[in-house]
Symmetry: C2
Subunit: 379 residues, 2 copies
């Protein structure tokens, strides 16, 4: 209960932030769309990753991200950072969305979020050195777009003032599948300082976080000036920044696409923005928000996000369970039956079936790598 | 090692059994084919049970059972006890096998092995009151047919003398999925008395059994005179025998088929021959044998019977495993991937997937019942 009050209070403060700052700020939404969604195999495939297929509902997660980033009162046209292999899917969905002026930066190889964020900051700074970069993973679900944009507005003052501002989600359940942010002192303008980043907690700890009202889910989104980000990279990851700079300088460009130079880009250290920059920086801010955010990047987080039955199961599609508990059982194809299992992920499509314990869903990417290896050996 | 010596010794004794007894004896092979193989769902389906589909190899298990029961020097034409729903599959495979003179007794409902054995004994006694009934489950795999027939010959003297003779398989591995028989004193003619029936043991106990040489796998096959069986039923299961007798008397008969009377047959207690008669009788005999017998009636026994890799896995078909142990993973359809599981059964066909721990494979029939319920509600 306390956490809800807290958010309301922050909301009031946000409304009180100087309108002048908000008006003059230019927010460049950067849709981070480089992932292949391998943790969601077999729902997500390398050539049809989860954020580019109608995975939940009628629109793809990428289309939904485009939609929430396309309010001209707040946002510049979007910048998409995506894998080169997905250029046609991206272009097609951009076209279908009616969003104009988007630019697409193509990664010749995937290099995790730090490299993508560095590229985004450098790319924005070409035209707007102090332009605001909104880093948005496009494989998240956000139910309440107006609330999302209101949160971005609340984050503007601190970002304009030179801070990196994260978006922390008020937890509505003791989720064990997300990282948490512990809030520090209140700042002006609706943002708080980040006291600590907390790894995925166990159940009891997560329950204490929800009760305590001082912890937020780390949504993975961030707002900062391009020059702020570049400075942080320069001091914490100078080599990565240097390779990213070269990759962009040597990029092949046409009207819509920027194809990063492979030789330089593949030398960027593959590391997450969280590890490379955020967790190693002082003065990071966080805006508490509640806009129906869910990570849907893994089966464990899908289980976490879904409504579960009395046995703790999520059952989707052609499924029969017997003496089954705390499991995520889904079929888009054959009938799937489970007997006497606990905490298992079972996902079937027309041509593939995955079985793994919920807590080992991070290892699913190994299967995808093995299958890729098999395919390459065949060719 | 001791157990192998033991079998050889018994073999010598069997050769020494009176040829006269063997010559005059008439053995009526009874193929018990009533099961729906529900423990092998989804490989085995109600309208296509495992013993009637080419499940392992080119011929069905039923065809293989017909083949090993069709030596005219030893056997009368076979009697098949099968579910009424399978009459066409049975008739077709009988025709294809070239076996002539077979008779088919159709069960209107399944009533386990005791009722089927009582029916078999009564049916044989119509024409041969002291005829020898060889009860043969038709969902077993027997690699060495000549050795099988030699074992039947070794069992003849004790059976002719009025005993129920079981076939005990010299274990070649510490299987935990089978019941065991502990041998008692040696009899004449290659048979031993049964000292005890032992339930499925744990691993350590099974290893001790293999080392000790006194335990045999209970194959579920039995040889006895029709009147011997009927006497046992009369004293141990008089009500079951009475209903079975009525079911046969009121049966609808044509040239090949005997359709048991449903009203009477469905009143027979559904219980196994082991529980109803064998484990409650004195003087049961067992013939030790080694003819490549395997129960393939459940996934646990298939796992037991198969060659396993270094991680203890059996992998069949379109399968990829990662950090997987002691599991039976099989696909006749989609690619099946397992990550981080231990002791699991994962079986996929084109239209169905089963996931269950190995030790709970007996519960698979519950799924089949649930699916049947669903289907009936739809109709």
């Amino acid at each position: 209960v306390e956490s809800v009050v807290l958010v309301r209070r922050e909301g009031v403060r946000a409304d009180a932030s100087p309108a002048a700052v908000t008006k003059s700020a230019k927010v460049f939404p950067v849709l981070l769309s480089g992932g292949a969604g391998t943790r969601l195999w077999p729902l997500s495939r390398e050539d049809a990753p989860k954020h580019l297929i109608p995975f939940l509902g009628r629109h793809t997660l990428f289309e939904q991200a485009l939609s929430r980033a396309s309010d001209p009162a707040l946002f510049e046209p979007p910048i998409v950072v995506a894998g080169a292999g997905h250029r046609f899917l991206i272009a097609e969905q951009l076209k279908g969305s009616g969003v104009s002026g988007a630019r697409i930066v193509l990664e010749p190889v995937a290099r995790n979020t730090a490299a993508a964020a560095a590229i985004a900051a450098l790319f924005v700074s070409e035209t707007a050195p102090r332009g605001l970069v909104l880093l948005m993973p496009s494989d998240h679900l956000i139910e309440d777009e107006p609330a999302f944009r209101a949160a971005v507005r609340r984050a503007l003052p601190a970002a304009v003032a030179g801070r990196i501002v994260l978006f922390g989600i008020t937890p509505d359940s003791p989720a064990t599948g997300y990282g948490y942010i512990r809030m520090g002192e209140a700042d002006a303008g609706g943002a708080r300082s980040v006291a600590a980043f907390v790894e995925k907690p166990d159940r009891a700890t997560a329950e204490a976080y929800v009760q305590g009202g001082k912890h937020l889910w780390n949504s993975g989104m961030a707002l900062a000036r391009a020059d702020t980000l570049i400075e942080r990279f320069a001091s914490l990851e100078p080599e990565l920044l240097s390779f990213a700079r070269t990759a962009l300088e040597e990029a092949a460009r046409d009207s819509n696409f920027v194809q990063l130079d492979q030789h330089a880009y593949e030398r960027c250290r593959a590391v997450s923005l969280d590890y490379a920059v955020l967790e190693r920086s002082e003065g990071i801010a966080v805006v508490p928000a509640a806009f129906g955010w869910r990570d849907v990047g893994s089966f464990a987080s899908l289980w976490e996000a879904a409504e579960r039955d009395a046995d703790g199961n999520v059952e989707i599609g052609n499924v029969v369970t017997e003496a089954t508990k705390n499991s995520y059982v889904r079929s888009d194809g054959p009938i799937v039956a489970t007997v006497g299992v606990d905490g298992l992920i079972v996902v079937a499509t027309k041509d593939a079936v995955l079985v793994a314990p919920r807590e080992r869903d991070q290892e699913i990417r190994k299967i995808v790598e093995r299958l890729k290896g098999k395919k390459e050996r065949r060719e």
